[in-house]
């Protein structure tokens, strides 16, 4: 026996008015059977479904339509008020209410859309960077492996230590190490300066990445003497290798070695961040030192091992290495740690991003408070309507439902507009995001983000709807309304509530402003730091040459740099020219341990090093290592404190000389003269010539303006050439022509070296990037919150004044002066503000502690910031109260009384 589709029948029973149901279902069933007999069951079933849906829709629409002419149906108790019909009717009614108060609705939607939009935008960044799983298979199994140094901080792995971790651990399926560097790449359609990662054999296996073309890394590639191969990123392959399907003929030359391109990795794969080419790390002999921290390491956990257990496992291995190693110095690892890779990649930005999320949540709260206040005042105005509907039989539940529907409509409209704001906001955020924010390619308005926006809208609905509904339909409130006389009990209550909301708003705004204030003071603090070098009118040119393999190559390189500096110096407008292995503020210098040594002790070969010397504190020192020319100090304006800079006598064959920074002189040789002393620092660049200290130069804030200057040893680029250098030119005039001229100079010398130009002001600005980013965003939020709070205060006070017109009239008739009235209204507004500021101070004291790591030169309880913000809030609040207060003061008492 054929039966109509069950689900459709069930729907029909559910949705139809009960007294029509019987014959309707009967008619449909009868016709279904005829359809089935004529056209078969399937077609009949489809026909049945169409009829059912049409019926439900038709009834729902007509019931809603009927309501507009028949207000008594509003109570929902009419026989035909099915649930579906009731809902549609509520939506229509809510739509009409919102449309009737169009200006208020516009303000509400604007406020809420802006707030939900900003929240959604910030959430999308937080989600993309911090929460979204890494785009690799089973990302929760991916771990980063770190050495823990004597300070308790994380550091990279020394090669032998990595080998021990790999061989001895019982927690990982596979492990890989990698390091990345910038180098010149020739062989594609044009020479590039690319990020290249040297990775160990299992690198792709750990991440679970398969090449989209060609092959990945094999054991053969890692064997000693294997032919060099390279894997290209999808983007590099498309752009510089013309997307050729046939890889067999493709080669790339880097550092004087020719690599066969054997594979292309999937689009979007860039690990480590920014890398375009991957080569086997085994091509170069590993460094046997246990204190040369060169490699990052990642591993994929076995299925049955937790990160916690893996951490214990590696920690034990690390501590064993520490105990058994012969070179017991500060640079030897103390311990080891296993950290989820995602956390390891994003740990740095966690605090600032969560701070932004907290800030935007505060803004959302303030916006909601405004919305709540608006809805509340509107609810007061609607008392009459509610009373009528109540009298016509609408129960409290029915009215609650109506309010919820209104809130739902409002929230959905706001969320819709909010998503538009978010799309725009995410673009804006990405445009201004600092370069060091990882995973930006994962940020966007995607499904989870949209879900978030929708969820936010629903929470707002629940919050605002329940709040206003409960406030305006409570029995006391209704009873009071029904009197509708001069008693204003209900409005009095709502006014008290309104003032509480405003106080809360002021409190939250206070917290936000304090946060912004502290960040602002920190930025000012950083800006007022004397970096130790000039930052204006400096053009920087990054270039990288192959590392010199032998003595002859070193001579050639030294000559090349000497020529380059001379030629650059000849460019019109260039005053000083120099070069160094790294610019200040752009990533920091390598650091290491040097040895005080006399000429007689100097080893000829690394094997002859007396390792025990490194454990003798009398003989060692720690410093950053920088390779520079004397022109570098002149161009950047780094002063010579004592002694001299490098000069023409310090040629390639001459005894090697070094300059040290003031802080190194002070800390390593207190009350002694460092000039003339000889040190061995060959562990940094492989050149064992002893260095004679010939000068002391000024400190620079090398690593960042907010970090203390680091002790630094400078060696002469013309004696100890380095492959990767930045040439600097101080040029008074326009940077553009200087860059063009420098480009052609280099092209003359060697057309295969790709260049990157920057001005030092750019470097300087970039070093402040994350600080200005956080400040700008928190600042915008705090400013918006302030505006909303002011609007809130104004709104409530204006409303109070309107409500109290009669009372004020009586007072003035009885002899109150206008200034009495002004004082009364201002007093009331300011009392609210002061309560809010008080709560805000408490809240800020409780919360600013979390942002301690982002501050510089200012404490989390900085009294100046707190006082300044309190004053600011009090002032704008006073202004916001003054406007309505003046209106009250100027009111005509007679007119006011008569109007009642």
């Amino acid at each position: 026996v054929t039966e109509p589709p069950r689900l459709a029948r069930w729907l029909l029973e559910r949705r139809l008015p009960p007294d029509d149901r019987g014959e309707l279902v009967g008619d449909l069933t009868e016709q279904f059977h005829r359809q089935a007999a004529r056209h078969g069951r399937a077609r009949a079933a489809r026909w049945f479904w169409r009829q059912v849906l049409g019926l439900i829709w038709g009834f729902a629409v007509s019931r809603g339509g009927a309501v507009s002419t028949a207000p008594q149906r509003m109570d929902g108790g009419s026989a035909g008020g099915g649930r579906m019909g009731g809902f549609v009717q509520d939506v229509r009614y809510a739509g009409r209410v919102l449309a009737r108060n169009s200006s208020m609705t516009a303000v509400l939607i604007f406020t809420l859309a802006l707030a939900t939009g900003m929240t959604t935008a910030i959430f999308s960044v937080v989600y993309g960077v911090l929460l979204r799983p890494l785009p690799y298979p089973n990302p929760d199994r991916l771990m980063a492996i770190w050495e823990i140094n004597t300070d308790g901080g994380r550091s990279r792995l020394a090669d032998p230590n990595f080998d021990d971790f790999q061989a001895q651990n019982r927690s990982f399926q596979t492990m890989a190490r990698y390091s990345s560097y910038v180098t010149s790449v020739v062989g594609g359609s044009e020479p590039t300066r690319s990020n290249v990662a040297a990775v160990s054999r299992d690198f792709l296996t750990v991440l679970g990445i398969q090449p989209v073309l060609g092959r990945g890394l094999t054991a053969g590639d890692a064997r000693p003497g294997a032919a060099p191969i390279v894997l290209a990123s999808y983007g590099y392959w498309q752009q510089y290798l013309d997307g050729a399907r046939d890889l067999s003929a493709l080669t790339l030359r880097m550092e004087d070695r020719v690599y066969a391109v054997v594979g292309v990795l999937p689009a979007g794969f860039h690990f480590p961040e920014g890398v375009d080419l991957w080569v086997p790390v085994e091509l170069n002999p590993g460094n046997t030192s246990r204190t040369a921290h060169n490699a990052f390491a990642i591993g994929r956990l076995r299925d049955d091992v937790t990160a916690f257990k893996a951490n214990a496992d590696l920690s034990a291995i690390g501590r064993r290495i520490r105990q058994q190693s012969s070179d017991q110095n500060t640079y030897l690892l103390e311990d080891a740690a296993v950290v989820p890779l995602q956390e390891s990649m994003t740990g740095r930005v966690r605090t600032p991003l969560l701070l932004l999320l907290a800030a935007v949540s505060c803004l959302l709260l303030v916006a909601c408070a405004n919305a709540a206040n608006l809805l509340l005042s509107q609810a007061t105005a609607r008392h009459g309507e509610l009373a009528i509907r109540n009298a016509l039989g609408a129960g409290r539940a029915r009215l609650l439902r109506q309010f919820l529907t209104e809130a739902l409509l409002l929230s959905l409209l706001s969320a819709g507009a909010g998503v538009l704001v978010a799309i725009w906001g995410v673009d804006a955020l990405l445009a201004m995001a600092p370069q060091n924010l990882p995973r930006l390619e994962d940020v966007g308005v995607n499904a989870p983000v949209l879900m978030f926006a929708l969820g936010l809208a629903l929470v707002l609905t629940a919050g605002l709807g329940v709040f206003t509904a409960v406030r305006s339909t409570s029995d006391r409130s209704r009873a009071a309304l029904l009197e509708r006389g001069r008693g204003q009990a209900g409005t009095q209550r709502n006014q008290t509530m309104g003032r509480r909301i405003v106080a809360a708003q002021v409190a939250v705004t206070f917290v936000l402003l304090v946060g912004a204030g502290l960040l602002g003071r920190s930025l000012l603090g950083v800006l007022s730091v004397d970096p130790g070098f000039r930052t204006d009118h400096i053009v920087a040119m990054d270039l990288s040459l192959p590392d010199a393999a032998d003595e002859a190559a070193r001579v050639r390189q030294a000559t090349f740099f000497a020529t380059l500096v001379d030629r650059l110096h000849a460019i019109p407008g260039v005053q000083q020219t120099g070069a160094a292995s790294a610019l200040p503020l752009s990533g920091g210098l390598p650091d290491g341990m040097f040895l005080l040594m006399s000429q007689e002790e100097a080893p000829k070969r690394f094997e002859d090093f007396d390792e025990s010397l490194f454990s003798n504190k009398e003989r060692t020192g720690i410093a950053d290592f920088c390779v520079a020319t004397s022109g570098y100090f002149r161009a950047l304006g780094i002063p010579v404190i004592r002694g001299r800079l490098f000069d023409e006598h310090d040629g390639f064959g001459a005894p090697h000389v070094a300059l040290i920074s003031e802080s190194l002189a002070r800390t390593r040789w207190p009350n002694q003269d460092p000039l003339g002393r000889t040190i061995e620092f060959g562990n940094m660049d492989g050149d064992l010539h002893l260095l004679t200290i010939v000068g002391i130069v000024g400190d620079t804030h090398e690593g960042g303006l907010d970090l203390p200057p680091r002790p630094t040893v400078y060696v002469n680029l013309l004696q100890r050439p380095s492959g990767r250098v930045t040439a600097v030119m101080s040029a008074g005039a326009d940077a553009g022509p200087v860059m063009a001229a420098a480009r052609s100079v280099l092209h003359d010398l060697n057309p295969d070296i790709p260049l990157r130009f920057r001005t030092f002001s750019q470097v300087y600005a970039a070093s402040l990037g994350s600080r200005t980013f956080t400040l700008a965003i928190v600042g915008v939020f705090a400013g918006s919150a302030l505006l909303l709070a002011v609007a809130g205060i104004y709104g409530v006070m204006a409303y109070t004044v309107t409500r109290r017109t009669r009372e004020i009239g009586v007072r003035m008739a009885l002899g109150a002066t206008p200034s009495d009235v002004l004082r009364m209204i201002l007093g009331q507004g300011m009392a609210t503000t002061i309560v809010g500021v008080g709560v805000g101070i408490a809240g800020a004291l409780a919360l600013t502690g979390t942002m301690a790591s982002l501050l510089f030169g200012v404490t989390t309880t900085d009294p100046l910031t707190f006082a300044g913000v309190a004053l600011l809030l009090a002032t704008v609040a006073a202004l916001a109260c003054y406007v309505p207060a003046r209106r009250a003061m100027r009111g005509n008492p007679v007119a006011a009384l008569r109007s009642e």
């Binding site: 019987g22 069933t29 049409g54 009834f59």
Partner: protein
């Protein structure tokens, strides 16, 4: 009872009742209107029109027998009332008088 005129669909429904006589319940009414006018009627609209006409007192309804092919549901039979008939006649008269002396013009207009 106000003398408001019939809506288009109400008009059709009442006419269907007259044509169908004793056999006027949901299915035949829908088929009669659909079959004769060639218009695909919204089922909900027809049912709603039926209820509205009943509320206006222009038709009466009673529940009939339940048959197995209806899934055990009763039929609701409708019958036009005297008021309904009067309303139909009034509508008809109004339409006829409006049509008087213009047929030829429409004919000519068409040719």
């Amino acid at each position: 009872m106000t003398r408001e005129s019939l809506g288009d669909l109400e008009h059709l429904v009442l006419l269907a009742l007259v044509r169908l006589g004793d056999e006027s319940y949901g299915v035949p009414i829908l088929e009669e209107i659909g079959g004769r006018t060639g218009r695909s009627m919204s089922r909900a609209a027809v049912y709603i029109a039926l209820r509205r006409l009943e509320a206006k007192g222009l038709l009466r309804s009673r529940l009939g027998d339940a048959t197995p092919e209806r899934g055990g549901r009763a039929k609701r039979y409708f019958r036009i009332t005297a008021a309904g008939l009067r309303q139909l006649q009034a509508s008809h008269a109004a339409l006829v008088s409006m049509w008087q002396h213009i047929e030829h013009r429409l004919e000519r207009g068409r040719s």
